[in-house]
């Protein structure tokens, strides 16, 4: 089982001081948090993508590439990559590049996660959210798997003899998760390809998560990728911990009360009962997290949200220490003891390469015609 953190990259004033970090500070904080995540032994760092204030995460592979250079083990992922409004050609290129510079420590989570106003900035319409996710992802897969692509679709200009470069590292594209809170079509998409399905899991009652995961598992089996309990499931979660649970509640409450995603609605106590939000001691977080398995089954990846709502960097780093020292080691042990042998681990670059029969270089050595890419096709034929 993989454990990690996911960030949305919000620039939010600290409600206890009123001070907001600058964009530069926030980006550097995210990097510090990622490095700390590796240091404390977490497996995954995932960052979101947004194109509007108060976020600073419009260019995920830039930060992830920097983090890749500063780390050795941690898997770099996204939460999520906007498959609706980002050109699939650009995603194919950006993440293949990241694969090379990160020695394969890369996977992706696809999501629609855009609000209405964002779509037109990229020439799209939010009503096409699902069709965009379906068409763009299918193209992305082909760009990673076929050297030369002829393609025509509804939402972007056609491609003739197009070669996306660089080709995926070792001939193996990054593993893909599909993230969705409540669209069965996206769970269906994940199942159809045998990809992973990630449920954000936070802000909503567990029943929503359970229904989506059940549906994904059933459809994964339907498409012949394995039995339902072998499907690749990831979950989010949000935690705030102190040694004593009262201290955790006292310290987190002002952040909870002011955060746009919570503020003005149910109280911290109500929200903690109704959703997986856990504010308390490390023991409480362990117990709650182990309980996720009761309604989604054995799953492969658990990501925690720990750095939003204006929490200062120092506090977030303390949270990572607690996760790394007290929480994750216990969760690792307990989850591993419960997991039946036939349930697979989350795919990694190494496991995917092994499954593909070993690494192979797929560099396209075409004579120089960098205008059309046609020559790659000729070279192949």
């Amino acid at each position: 089982m993989q454990f990690g953190i996911f960030t949305v990259g919000d620039v939010t004033p600290d409600p206890t001081t009123g001070r907001a970090p600058t964009e530069a500070e926030r980006l550097k904080s995210m990097i510090a948090i990622a490095l700390k995540a590796e240091e404390v032994g977490l497996d995954v760092f995932a960052q979101g993508q947004h194109h509007n204030p108060p976020f600073v995460v419009s260019s995920p592979t830039t930060t992830l590439g920097y983090i890749a250079a500063k780390t050795e083990k941690i898997v770099l992922s996204t939460s999520t990559t906007l498959i609706t409004t980002t050109d699939p050609v650009k995603i194919a290129e950006d993440f293949a590049t990241l694969q090379h510079v990160a020695d394969g420590r890369v996977d992706l989570m696809m999501g629609r996660g855009n609000t209405g106003p964002v779509y037109p900035w990229f020439g799209k319409d939010i009503r096409d959210g699902i069709p965009l996710a379906v068409e763009n992802y299918q193209l992305l897969r082909r760009l990673w798997r076929e050297d030369v692509v002829d393609w025509e679709g509804q939402f972007r200009t056609p491609l003739q003899g197009f070669t996306s470069t660089p080709r995926p590292l070792d001939g193996v594209p990054p593993f893909v998760w599909h993230g969705s809170i409540r669209s069965p079509q996206i769970a269906e998409q994940a199942a159809y390809y045998g990809d992973g399905f990630f449920h954000n899991h936070i802000f909503w009652p567990p029943e929503h998560t359970q229904r989506m995961v059940e549906f994904y598992r059933r459809r994964f089996e339907h498409y012949g990728h394995g039995s339902a309990d072998q499907a690749i499931v990831g979950l989010g979660g949000q935690v705030f911990m102190r040694k004593n649970s009262q201290d955790a509640v006292r310290e987190f409450r002002p952040y909870f009360d002011a955060a746009p995603v919570y503020g003005g609605g149910p109280s911290l106590e109500e929200f903690s009962t109704q959703t997986p939000l856990t504010v308390g001691s490390p023991e409480q977080v362990i117990e709650r997290t182990l309980g996720f398995r009761d309604y989604v089954g054995d799953y492969q990846r658990q990501l925690f949200l720990v750095d939003h709502a204006g929490l200062p960097l120092k506090t977030v780093l303390e949270q990572l220490d607690i996760l790394g020292e007290e929480v994750v080691p216990v969760l690792r042990r307990e989850f591993a003891a419960l997991k039946p042998a036939h349930v697979p681990d989350a795919p990694t670059h190494a496991s995917l390469v092994a499954a593909a029969g070993g690494a192979k270089d797929v560099t396209v050595h075409a004579p120089a015609d960098d205008v059309t890419g046609r020559t790659a096709e000729v070279a192949q034929a």
């Binding site: 339907h222 609605g265 929200f271």
Partner: protein, 209 residues
Amino acid sequence: MTTRTIAVVSAGLGNPSSTRLLADRLTAATVEALRARGDDATVEVVELRGHARDLADNLTSGFANESLQASIDTVVGADAVIAVTPVFSASYSGLFKTFFDVIDKDALIGTPVLLGATAGTARHSLVVEFAMRPLFAYLRAVPVPTGVFAASEDWAGGGSTALAGRVDRAAGELADVLVGRAAGRPAATRPADPFADPTTSFEELLKGR
């Protein structure tokens, strides 16, 4: 004999509440009208006053808490709905509207509804027609032709006979819609289960890509 479930939604705020009083009258008359036609009825009342905070929370959090969800399930699962609101600022109350705002817009398709409203003055008497009926038309529910409006004077003696007559007429209309229907929602009007296995294959969605 078929047993019909009737959900009563009352947005009254006081206790006692004239809105609840009207809702109870409409309910009793409907149960009686059903019995006269050979059907039985079970009644479940949803007092929105008790859900005021739940509804506000639902607006900000995006989901209903357990208590509110139970009431939503009651209303969505009923064979018929009796919906009664006080008139605030020339329309249904915000509490009443919020309840129907947080219900899925397809959840009441085809559900027969009896509409009622209460106000301090008879000058609001067309609120049922001008405000409530369009709301339920949007929801594609089936409001019966007679809406029942009760102003203060209706409770005060002289008008009460007239009120009783309207209540009986509306209840009879609701019973007429229900009788002859199979129990439960007609399949054609039930919203599709989003978690049912898809009828369109994913290959179909990908055609031409």
